[in-house]
Amino acid sequence: MITFTINGRRRQVDVPPEMPLLWVIRETLGLTGTKYGCGMALCGVCTVHLDGAPVRTCVTPVSAVAGKKVTTIEGLSDKGDHPVQRAWTEVDVPQCGFCQPGQIMSAAALLATKPSPTDADIDDAMSGNICRCGTYQRIRAAIHRAAALKRGGA
């Protein structure tokens, strides 16, 4: 049994300790907002926050999160109104949308540590997230917008 907190709730799971957190989240806990894309931490669609920091769950064994706090896209905000989500809506970022939960989790983690990121900060923080639809310039614009929303408290 491994116990951790996910989106504010303590959960116990009876799974092999080496099982990637991704499949525990998706299949054991039924939270499918976190996606599978590569299984090798190359694409970022499986990104969640582990004690606030972005991690790729496809290569994170569930044993590594025992006693820790996991936040998935479903837990980022109550009503889909985190500044990053609001900015994503304003800018109409998503196309197919499959990578966007991972993009949003990476962006939210960036803004938590850097409230006014530069373009270079964005490149660094977001380079692990592939978007095959090519929404990168909207992602960049939306991160700047989210930063402004956060700063302005709007």
Binding site: T32, G97, I130
Partner: protein, 714 residues
């Protein structure tokens, strides 16, 4: 449209969508209302829309949502012509039912070729205009006034002379009794309320919260999850199988042989993967076990010396080439490419004794319905298809293999089964953009103007391989973009030599135009430089018979500041192409690092897609098309050794990342013409715009993709 038939069929379709409710598919959440279509209180004049007494308009979108925004665009088109308020419109995804929902141009319920808007625009408008006329007539009858005096706006009918007004919801019961008009009057464009205006995407909320259900997210009670071990060589089959160790892995429920390999069926995907790793399979690798990319190129080269079928012949190019002018020759090669949808292939099937339910991210609901029926041995109308959100399509999700996987596996184990492909499965078992080999010759007159254009293309034909075009004919997909280039040259000959090694090939975003715009727009650029002329002006002079090409070329050049100074170390390249109903021109601003690394800083794109239904989504498609094309130009290469794809995941089949992405500026050229496509037309001119800029910077002509940075090292 016949109302009675439509209503009956709508009910059937409604039940099919209803199957989605059990999994909580969000787009179908409103589908409960469909079942009430037969009951009073719902006005359903055709299969595309219905209105209930609360005034809620439900629109049935037949085009799968793969990122292009069809849930939004379809709603805009119908709501506009209906005079409905978009905020009161719900949209749901159509079930597979080609009789009702086929594309009226292709006759199939399959979606590719950037056909969503352009093929359905008139039909949807007529469907909505007919409904609007019925509502107006219902109001006229209620008020006892001539219908000509009744107007509609914002979900209501009104009679201005008396100030009377009835909401659509109040007219439902009366409208339902009226005949459906056969030739309703369409709005003139100046009356459009949504078409041509920027409307936010309606699917964003579910895509930013994780609520959106993609194929991979489908959950069905009692569902098992499978992973399939496939022969690494195309066409190989199982020679022997020892599943003892696999079956001992915790969670493994079944190991079954299916057409595409060995399915390991488990309680979870993670277990299925462990079981798959424990399989002992010996493959009969079949006829392609020795195939290599080098062999393919070599054979193409040999065959390029033989005459091909003539795809275009004007004047006498061969004679003009020998007439003493300056002759320019070049050979261009492009590799196989995999689509790499962000969501790996998957499908969920439940094969029951007399029916099948299929939940699938599909570009081909009609084809997949028929395929499932055939495999399961049930009548096609007993197959319900729930089209989920698609995590990318790009042409890949019309293919049959992932549906075959799920239906066969479910049938074999007697339970609902979700088959999920790994990324490695996805890259190594694709339907690839064909690799081709292309020879060009041109003759220039004393002024540098081309008098002869000669092009021979060697490669496989997608339609021929799929049995959709006869062998021995010219495959339209192989020559599109090459045989119909727009340049006014007196002698033109384009030939095609078919050579198919059996590598599975398919429709990759912009299909033949993806490579043929590269070769054509590179070669015309070569001619411009050979003539000592500006590549933009050189093209202009040859576009006298192609006004829409010329208009986008001019717009892109102007927008990019063609001819104005750039920062040191940068250069511009330009290219133009027609594909899938639209005209696009791109100017790329490029630099090359000392190590040969290519950096694209800015792309200016001009697009004439006719009526731009949602201009911001036109921009999105141009932005995305540019990144897709640039990824291919810089990195895209699928190679074979011993019949096996050598790439496996994003480390060796890399994708462009945010730090490498240029800004893309889109200029929409308003021609006022009928709508063209958008998913594809933003791709073809990008690679040649970039390589043409590289030539200006380095003097090196890139004739093989992807761009080899070692060639550009200084």
């Amino acid at each position: 449209m016949k109302t009675d038939i439509s209503r009956r069929a709508l009910l059937k379709g409604g039940l099919a969508v209803g199957a989605g409710l059990s999994i909580g598919f969000p787009v179908a959440r409103t589908a409960r209302r469909v079942a009430s279509a037969q009951t009073p209180g719902v006005f359903a004049p055709n299969q595309w829309l219905r209105i209930d007494r609360d005034g809620v308009v439900t629109i049935v979108n037949s085009v799968p949502e793969m990122g292009q925004g069809s849930l939004t665009t379809t709603s805009m088109i119908i709501a506009d012509e209906l005079d409905a308020v978009l905020d009161n419109v719900r949209v749901e995804q159509a079930p597979a039912n080609p009789a009702l929902y086929k594309n009226p141009v292709t006759g199939n319920q399959a979606y590719g070729g950037s056909r969503g808007v352009r093929d359905h625009f008139d039909m949807w408008r007529k469907a909505a205009a007919g409904a609007r006329e019925m509502l107006a007539q219902a109001a006229a009858n209620e008020w006892g006034v001539p219908v000509e005096s009744v107007e509609t706006e914002a979900g209501a009918a009104l009679h201005r002379p008396t100030g009377r007004r009835l909401l659509y919801g109040q007219l439902v019961d009366r409208a339902q009794q009226l005949p459906v008009p056969q030739n309703p009057k369409l709005k003139t464009p100046d009356k459009f309320r949504y078409i041509g205006k920027v409307v936010h995407r309606r699917d964003t909320p579910e895509k930013i919260t994780g609520r959106g259900v993609y194929g991979m997210d489908v959950q069905v009670p009692g569902m098992l999850v499978a992973s399939i071990e496939r022969c690494p060589v195309f066409g190989g089959t199982v020679q022997s199988l020892d599943a003892t160790a696999a079956k001992a892995v915790p969670g493994i429920k079944h190991v079954v042989q299916v057409s595409n390999g060995v399915a390991v069926v488990a309680s979870s995907f993670w277990s299925a993967l462990q079981g798959r790793r424990a399989l002992k399979v010996t493959w009969d690798e079949g006829a392609m076990a020795a195939l290599t990319s080098a062999q393919i190129s070599k054979q193409y080269e040999t065959m390029s010396k033989q005459p091909g079928q003539v795809a275009r012949n004007e004047g006498n190019a061969e004679q003009a080439l020998g007439a003493g002018g300056k002759v320019v020759e070049a050979v261009y090669q492009v590799p196989f490419l995999e689509h790499a949808c962000m969501e790996p292939m998957n499908a969920t099937a439940h094969v029951m004794p007399n029916s099948v339910t299929l939940w699938v991210p599909t570009q081909n609901p009609g084809g997949h319905q028929a395929l499932a029926a055939k495999i399961a041995g049930v009548p096609v109308e007993r197959v319900e298809v729930v089209t989920t959100l698609l995590g990318g399509g790009f042409g890949r999700r019309g293919e049959p293999d992932f549906v075959t996987d799920a239906v066969e596996t479910s049938k074999a184990v007697g339970a609902p089964v979700k088959v999920i492909w790994t990324r490695e499965d996805d890259i190594q078992h694709g339907f690839y953009r064909p690799a081709t080999y292309n020879v060009f010759r041109a003759a220039l007159d004393a002024n540098g103007q081309p008098v002869a254009w000669w092009n021979r293309i060697v490669g496989p034909g997608i339609l021929i391989q799929k049995g959709r075009a006869p062998k021995g004919t010219i495959d339209p997909a192989a020559v599109e973009g090459a045989r119909n280039h727009p340049y006014d040259i007196p002698n033109i000959r384009v030939e095609w030599v078919e050579k198919d090694f059996g590598v599975p090939i398919g429709f990759w975003r912009s299909v033949g135009s993806s490579q043929n715009a590269f070769i054509t727009e590179s070669f015309v650029d070569e001619l411009a430089h050979a003539a000592g002329k500006d590549p933009y002006e050189y093209r202009r002079a040859l576009l006298g018979k192609a006004p829409r090409h010329l208009a986008v070329l001019d717009a892109a050049a102007k927008g990019a500041g063609w001819g104005t100074p750039l920062p040191a170390g940068r250069a511009r390249g330009i290219a133009v192409a027609f594909s899938y109903g639209s005209y696009a021109a791109h100017v790329a601003e490029v630099s090359v690092a000392p190590d040969g690394g290519v950096r694209v800083h800015r792309i200016v794109c001009a697009i004439d897609c006719g009526i731009a239904v949602n201009p911001d989504q036109v921009r999105s498609q141009m932005e995305g098309g540019a990144i897709y094309a640039l990824t291919a130009a810089l990195y895209g290469k699928i190679t074979l050794d011993k019949g096996r794809v050598q790439q496996s995941n994003f480390h060796d089949y890399p994708m462009l990342r945010i730090g490498e992405a240029p800004t893309v500026e889109t200029i929409i050229v308003d021609s006022g013409q009928a709508p063209g496509g958008l998913g594809e037309p933003g791709v073809p001119p990008v690679a040649p715009a970039v390589t043409n800029a590289i030539f200006v910077l380095t003097g090196k002509r890139i004739r093989t993709l992807p761009i080899d940075k070692d060639l550009l090292k200084r």
